[in-house]
């Protein structure tokens, strides 16, 4: 009698677990896919938005240089080729779930991009004071913020500062206003920061310009 009851419990347990197994199948597949979509969408935006912006700026510059400084036009074209090729690699890598963004790498690219857009760049020369587990994330922040400066700010100067738990990108351009579009760049960064337990602030700067600051909670 006891054994039979136990057996029935075992059996009932089976049914419950089986049902749970099916529910789980559905639900997890759905959750994982949604999360993955968001992640890929974000990576894509960050990685390609940046390269493509750099390409279009440099192509415009090279076009102007062709008649007056052909050898500089050639140099810009070499960089465009490199950017396009590495963007193709990024597309491949994103599709395969691999990505390598480093803060140092992003600062180097930022300098080149700001230079060709005619924006004076004041950038840190080292990243060692930044905590290691924040460098990739801050790399994404620099990438998006600098892309925005080039695309939207009409700035004459851009300055980047770093601390152990934070990074700040400031420009002296026209500044955000109520009519600023809501793109996916800043929203994506905000998502990344929130996920990492930090926060992103985007503010007007006095007397003019914009400042983007990303901050992580102090390391445990």
């Amino acid at each position: 009698q006891i054994a039979v009851t136990l057996w029935m419990m075992g059996f009932a347990g089976n049914i419950r677990l089986t049902r749970e197994l099916y529910a789980t199948r559905e639900q997890l597949a759905r959750t994982a896919v949604a999360a993955e979509r968001e992640r890929i969408g974000r990576d894509l935006h960050d990685i390609l938005g940046h390269s493509l912006t750099a390409i279009s700026v440099k192509a415009g510059l090279a076009r102007k240089l062709v008649p007056i400084a052909p050898e500089r036009a050639t140099a810009e074209l070499t960089e465009i080729e490199d950017l396009a090729r590495s963007a193709i690699k990024d597309v491949r890598a994103t599709a395969q779930g691999v990505r390598a963004v480093t803060l140092a790498g992003e600062l180097a690219v930022a300098r080149a991009v700001l230079d060709s857009a005619g924006v004076a760049a004041d950038l840190p020369s080292a990243v060692d004071n930044v905590r290691a587990d924040g460098r990739e994330l801050f790399g994404f922040v620099v990438r998006e913020a600098v892309t925005n400066v080039v695309r939207h700010a009409q700035a004459s100067a851009c300055r980047i500062d770093l601390g152990p738990n934070w990074v700040e990108i400031a420009d002296d351009g026209r500044g955000l206003d109520e009519r600023s579009a809501t793109g996916s760049g800043l929203a994506g960064l905000d998502g990344r920061l929130t996920e990492a337990g930090g926060r992103l602030t985007v503010a007007r700067r006095e007397p003019r310009g914009t400042v983007v600051r990303a901050e992580l909670a102090a390391a445990r």
Binding site: E81, R85, I88, R92, Q96
Partner: protein
Amino acid sequence: MSTPIRVLLADDQALIRGALAALLELEPDLQVVASVGTGDDAVAFAVELQPDVALLDVQMPGLDGLSATAAIRAQVPTCRVLIVTTFGRPGYLRRALEAGASGLLVKDASPDLLADAVRRVHSGLRVIDPELAAESMTVGASPLSGR
């Protein structure tokens, strides 16, 4: 200089086809004899023009580059084939070699590398982009086949 290497070019994307043709034409030892947008045209023109090298895109409407390779190799054995693609897809390398291609290269290879690949294929050498090869062998490994 001896007679130029005669090249047939096939890519369905007109922008890329045009730029590739212009690039190859800049090389004094290369001559683009036909530039077409489908695999079927590639085969027809290869038969008619007997080029030395056919540079074929993989994804094209109708006959794709891999099937066109097999057809060209069968009907114009003297024509060597170099396949170009943007992405390595599973099985590309194996299928390219099985179809009789001499090379597989990324389309965004630098102009000098591309021209050089055409020359090397023409002289009987094999040109295989290592990154593309790795991709075409690993990318498609089924997620279901347990690791």
